[in-house]
């Protein structure tokens, strides 16, 4: 009985290790293998208000791609939107609910300006939550 319990605990520990390694390796894989120009990675944490905001200057007619990677679980119930300075959504008003632990979302803006990128968590998310990778896909 003690041996079975020990094996069970060991399997759990191995699973946790695999998940942790998955986060790092996946982040590296996205960065290296994706064709777009890698701009930045963000470790997105859930704030008290459940909404994390990034203010960012975006270029006109440029396609950006946001890759979400969760180290330990599937990406679920996250709302994404890009708003202007008046806080009206201008593009990328979408829900992310994926069975996988990664998700890609693309967006463009028609005016070079300062925008807000909102990431709204609708479920409790521990620690880093998600790693967000920003890529530049097409530039005119």
């Amino acid at each position: 009985m003690r041996t079975i319990l020990s094996i069970f605990v060991l399997l759990l520990a191995l699973q946790a290790t695999v998940n942790a390694q998955c986060a790092i390796s996946e982040k590296i894989n996205w960065s290296k293998e994706y064709e777009g120009k890698f701009l930045k990675d963000f470790e997105v944490k859930q704030s008290e208000s459940n909404v994390t905001r990034y203010s960012v200057i975006l270029k006109k007619d440029t396609q950006y791609a946001l890759h979400f990677v969760n180290p330990s679980t599937s990406i679920s119930n996250i709302k994404l939107y890009v708003s202007d300075s008046e806080k009206y959504p201008v593009t990328l008003d979408t829900y992310v609910d994926s069975e996988k632990n990664s998700f890609v979302s693309r967006f463009k803006v028609d005016k070079k300006s300062a925008y807000h990128l909102f990431i709204e968590f609708n479920e409790k998310c521990d620690n880093e939550c998600v790693v967000m990778l920003l890529y530049l896909e097409e530039e005119e």
Binding site: T17, A20, Q21, A23, I24, S25, K37, L39, K40, F42, K45, S47, T52, R53, Y54, S55, V56, I57, K59, P71, K112, S113, A114, N127, E128, L134, L136
Partner: protein
């Protein structure tokens, strides 16, 4: 030539003994008529224009020479910290600045109060009172504008990919010289802004790094922090190459607050609280299980 003709004419007039009675002519009338015919006397308007143009040209020449030789440019004062400790300096406008190791600034204050500072390395700046004129800080391609009282940390080491601006008090505007100065992000207290040196990316968000002022305060805090971040902080603070031997260690969490301790003391505390070993190998610290 004209003068000699005048003289000949004067001599000829002087030689005349008398003038016929029927002629209503006098030497004065003749002289006036001669001058009018030859436009000898400059018109007042023409003379005024000539004087004004000459004066303006002379002034323009003096101004151009002065600007070219930087006579009107304010004095630029440079400070450099090449010591192993931080330095603090009070500036002529009452602001206070702290310089981290291997950091330098060059600043100037105009009579209007306009303050300009170039930053290389890491500095913490506390501006004094309400500024008479805007403060402009330049760090790499980042341009920071301050219009009211503020305190901020600027990290801009030439080898870092990004320039990080963390606002402790007040608010600042951050623009990227490459993206265009017309566009800027407002960064308020408790937030930080990152300006990429190469990727034309400027973003601002809530500051989650409690150790951004560790270089100034000597205090390092870890609150359930993953080991990947712990080693990053220690690497930056102590300038020591630290390597994680196994990816699985990266997510092991660590908590503790340390003030003015040596790296060895903190590594000993990590070993004590976790199942991690820190080994010095050549000039590296290897973190393993």
């Amino acid at each position: 030539m004209n003068n000699s003709i005048d003289n000949i004419f004067r001599d000829k007039v002087a030689e005349l003994d008398s003038i016929p009675k029927e002629v209503e002519w006098t030497p004065e009338k003749g002289w006036a008529s001669y001058q009018q015919a030859n436009n000898h006397k400059a018109k007042p308007l023409r003379r005024f224009i000539l004087t004004a143009t000459s004066t303006a040209a002379a002034i323009a020449l003096i101004v151009a020479l002065a600007v070219n030789s930087n006579i009107f440019a304010p004095e630029v004062i440079a400070l450099q910290n090449q010591t192993d400790s931080i330095t603090e300096q009070q500036l002529p406008n009452g602001s206070r600045v702290w310089l981290n190791k291997n950091s330098s600034i060059a600043y100037s204050v105009r009579k209007s109060g306009e303050f300009t500072m170039d930053i290389d390395g890491e500095v913490y700046l506390e501006t004094a009172g309400t500024a008479k004129a805007p403060y402009t800080l330049r760090a790499g391609n980042a341009i920071i504008s301050i219009k009211s009282q503020a305190a901020l940390n600027v990290r801009a080491y030439p080898n870092d990919y990004d320039i990080d601006i963390t606002v402790t008090n007040g608010s600042v505007k951050v623009a990227d010289n490459i993206l265009g100065q017309g566009l800027s992000l407002l960064v308020t207290k408790g937030n930080y802004c990152s300006v990429s040196r190469t990727n034309s990316l400027v973003y601002a968000t809530l500051n989650n790094n409690p150790n951004y002022l560790a270089w100034k305060t000597g205090e390092i805090t870890f609150d359930n922090t993953p080991m990947a971040t712990v080693t990053q902080v220690l690497r930056s603070f102590y300038g020591q190459d630290i390597e994680i031997a196994d990816d699985s260690i990266a997510y092991i969490r660590f908590t503790g607050t340390y003030t003015n301790l040596s790296l060895d003391s903190i590594l000993a505390a990590i070993e004590d609280k976790t199942a991690i070993k820190a080994t010095r190998l050549h000039n590296k610290v290897i973190i393993s299980k």
